[in-house]
Symmetry: C2
Subunit: 423 residues, 2 copies
């Protein structure tokens, strides 16, 4: 086989999974397989960059074409992901050198890192340090995050599907509440993800397809939570509509800038671990307004619901994977394939190229003009942006009534580096 | 029109909606429309029995065939439902007489009450009191409850779809957690409905399709919650599998018989209003085991998720509606169409007939042999029972990326009774 002389490729997943990150993996691996005359082995790191550091690599060549194809319809992170942030090159030099050492041992010529801001930063630094170390490496970032907070790209693969999930779920729950409100539940709250930006909260608003249709109130992390104003609005809605449906961000804050549902826990990136805004709001409504309420917290369901992904999102997720390989083969280094919106209606998109240094560690906020002046709903501009991202269905295959997701064999690559590495 | 001389039919929805109760409404109305030579107007009560008491009726004849057909794919209670329990005939005689008065004013010959145990009781009592009052009425109960707790019937329409939702959701979340566990979340908890019976908790178990596959732990309301034993099991699972996925009933109780998440609130039937077991368990796991955890509470999402109903359940929901009309036209009174399992593998079912008095106020428990001896999972017997109920998919139509649900016109019928009635 020619593979012995060719450079190998390495793909890794980072951060919270999405319903379509494995579609990106599928795009990378299928494109790399097709480029068999130029790319040798196609490896994946087990658990993201942690797997590179510890030299836990997986030989994707041992997976069948059918298994790789099935990644397109399988949620989670098929090779394992991680929350593990590398610091600056000076502070974490030993780790970066270790990464290059592992690359060298396995003759990695192309590295594809699939994640958000932090992963783009890691890929970018790797491209720098490998150059300093005279190790020829092409490092490509591949976008993924349900937070939709990467700059330059029109949207982030994973977001459109989570958006479709939350909009569908809040519409469905609203139909339920509407039918019961006269003698039972008057207020329903759905808590959605989005630490610092209200992208998913805004997506809930898509379920409201005409004036007065639920959800009636959205609570954005971009707006200070004003208890009295909120309660007055809930009461007014119940008085006029008969019931009130609320989409609330996990990240809403009080006037002192404190998260309402601060748990005190922090994740590996130093972010606060949140959850529990919905029961808190429900308690408030019960105590202050005396209304019967129900609440749901979607948590991981919203980012793993492969059964209701957006077809647009799925296609974009696959496309950025495929394009990452194309860019790599063109010799482009330290770049990321991004989504460009060519037109709004009808929605047309293409994959463009951005420099990792322009993306790394930057955070896209939701535009100010996406939130209505009263602070509680989305504007037509938000709808124009969001609507195409949730368009189209792409259900998985079902077996015995449940989605039939693939579990890969994940056969390890034999270790070649003498020294072990402790995380 | 012949309608003037024919007796009219009245359909009403009761209790918590399901993803398919409107499919039953569709079955009733379509069958009644087909029987136009024998049935006059087809009315629906607004908000269940409350709408009969207050004489708020809807003329379903003003809805197009297409709108009625669309009920098959619309969640919630299209005509409104209620939580309003009538007491015994002696205690609530004025209300029963009022019901008969409204029936008489609108020449109702057939009454179809779509709900659970309590509704079956109301329909049964109505058939008795109307006989006592010499008012000719055929009262038919039509089964509906995601709680799956009606006796005689093999299953209750609505349950199979909620079961499919929770099993799908926990499988998807488990794929997410599995991919992240090495450096992040180790334990995930999904809280599901089911006050006193673990039917939906058991359904979570279907997601575990091979030994060791998640969910790893199910917490049933049928078992006393033993904190130490539970925590030891979580720890053991994390130590061996790397992560732990838990399906927990909202109704789990401690050794004193107290609900773990007792909120103190009661609904109109006097049931405690629950919610919040998942965050409670998560706090326990964090404090006692120091493991990072996430939790979701599905709440109404599980009973309104029309986008992922079981085709089997949908067909049964429609069939019981259609059969209710057939029984009524045969002159059967105080009965309910129920599902009979003709064979397990392959699953074959038919619609049979049961007497309301054999169903009213009885509650089917989950069989003892559905829970494994250790108390934390389901047995093969449970799988044999549950698996066919979630089989098949029947997605709704989508528009602009979201399920396209119908909103009926709900044109009121002119009131004819002089006296008003205060609920």
């Amino acid at each position: 086989m020619a593979g012995a002389k060719l450079k190998n490729a390495l793909y890794a997943q980072s951060g919270g999974p999405s319903a379509v990150i494995n579609a990106t993996a599928c795009g990378v691996i299928e494109a790399a397989r097709k480029a068999g005359s130029r790319i040798g082995k196609v490896y994946a790191a087990r658990d993201g960059i942690v797997g590179v550091l510890t030299e836990n690599l997986i030989d994707t060549g041992r997976e069948t074409d059918a298994a790789i194809r099935a990644l397109r319809h399988t949620p989670g992170a098929a090779f394992g992901s991680c929350r593990y942030k590398l610091k600056g090159v000076e502070q974490d030099r030993a780790k970066y050198e270790r990464l290059v050492e592992v690359f060298r041992a396995h003759d990695i010529g192309w590295f594809f890192y699939n994640g958000g801001n932090d992963s783009a930063d890691t890929a970018w630094k790797l491209s720098q340090i490998s150059a300093q170390m005279d190790y020829p490496l092409i490092a490509i970032g591949v976008p993924k995050t349900i937070d939709n907070d990467l700059v330059i790209t029109d949207t982030c693969p994973g977001f459109g599907s989570a958006a479709k999930y939350v909009a569908t779920s809040i519409r469905e729950a609203a139909f339920d509440v509407a039918g019961m409100a006269s003698t039972s539940t008057r207020v329903f709250i759905l808590e959605v993800m989005g630490r610092h930006a209200g992208w998913l909260t805004a997506a809930c608003g898509l379920a409201s397809d005409r004036a007065g249709a639920p959800p009636h109130i959205l609570l954005f992390p971009e707006r200070v939570f004003d208890e009295a104003d909120f309660l007055a609005r809930v009461k007014r809605t119940v008085d006029t509509v008969g019931y009130c449906v609320i989409g609330a961000s996990e990240g809403i804050k009080d006037s002192d800038g404190r998260f309402l549902a601060e748990s005190g826990a922090k994740d590996a990136f130093g972010h606060s671990q949140l959850g529990g805004v919905a029961p808190l709001l429900a308690g408030l409504i019960k105590d202050k307004l005396g209304l019967k309420q129900h609440w749901a917290v979607a948590d991981y369901l919203q980012r793993s619901a492969r059964h209701i992904v957006s077809k647009t999102d799925l296609e974009q997720a696959y496309a950025v994977g495929r394009e990452a390989v194309r860019l790599a083969l063109k010799g482009r280094n330290a770049v990321m394939p991004v989504i460009r919106r060519e037109s709004g209606r009808p929605y047309r998109w293409s994959v463009a190229e951005a420099r990792l240094e322009d993306i790394a560690n930057k955070e896209r906020k939701m535009p100010e003009n996406f939130i209505t002046p009263d602070g509680y709903h989305i504007t037509p501009a938000a709808r124009r942006y969001l609507a195409p991202l949730i368009a189209g269905e792409a259900p998985p295959p079902y077996r015995d009534g449940l989605p039939d997701y693939v579990r890969l064999k994940r056969i390890p690559v034999r270790k070649r580096v003498k020294a072990a590495f402790e995380i």
